[in-house]
């Protein structure tokens, strides 16, 4: 199938060709009959120049439009996107019209990463705190033991 760039050029060229065909010498001479009767050769020459200039100017202007809008590059890019999506039958996502809702989706991957990060950090902290808590309980036990030993010595001296 033709590319978008080719299609664009083809349809524009076709219109130009048909326009040129419509503005035939017969039609031109028919409109400028009074002049044609006076100078038929000059009429032919003017018509040829008219056709030439019309084609050249329009082609040049269309080329400018294409360059200004970077149409060739955009058409190629769009053709590639269409090719990549050829196996997708379902209609693709389109903006909902509610920008704040659409913007949320852009944040989802990073929010999910943040979520994973927090889960990991929480797990580490819980593990660390578990060990700390065991150490604290052991410490309290040791202090109680020392206090009991001191109590026993004091009572013995008393």
């Amino acid at each position: 199938p033709p590319t978008r760039a080719q299609l664009f050029d083809t349809v524009v060229d076709t219109v130009l060709e048909k326009l040129v065909a419509a503005g035939s010498y017969e039609r031109f001479a028919s409109c400028y009959r009074c002049f044609y009767k006076l100078q038929p050769e000059v009429t032919k020459s003017i018509h040829e120049q008219f056709i030439f200039q019309l084609q050249a100017s329009i082609k040049e202007e269309i080329q400018e439009v294409k360059e200004e809008g970077k149409l060739e590059m955009l058409f190629d890019a769009l053709d590639r996107l269409v090719e990549e999506a050829k196996d997708q039958q379902e209609p693709a996502w389109r903006p909902s019209g509610t920008p704040e809702e659409d913007a949320l989706s852009a944040m989802v991957p990073y929010l999910l990463k943040h979520h994973s990060y927090l889960q990991r950090v929480l797990k580490e902290k819980v593990e660390d705190n578990k060990q700390l808590a065991e150490a604290v309980l052991a410490g309290r036990g040791r202090i109680k033991e020392l206090q009991q030993l001191i109590q026993a010595r004091r009572e013995a001296w008393q």
């Binding site: 920008p99 659409d102 913007a103 852009a106 990073y110 929010l111 990463k113 943040h114 990060y117």
Partner: protein
């Protein structure tokens, strides 16, 4: 109308990235 459409669609294309930049900075700051 043309200007409005073009402006709106330009924002649709560019602003989510700008918003995302700030959102990512916020998440990173929270992580730190």
């Amino acid at each position: 109308f043309e200007e409005l459409v073009v402006e709106t669609t330009k924002k649709r294309k560019q602003w989510p990235k700008k918003i995302l930049k700030h959102a990512v900075q916020t998440y990173k700051a929270e992580q730190e």
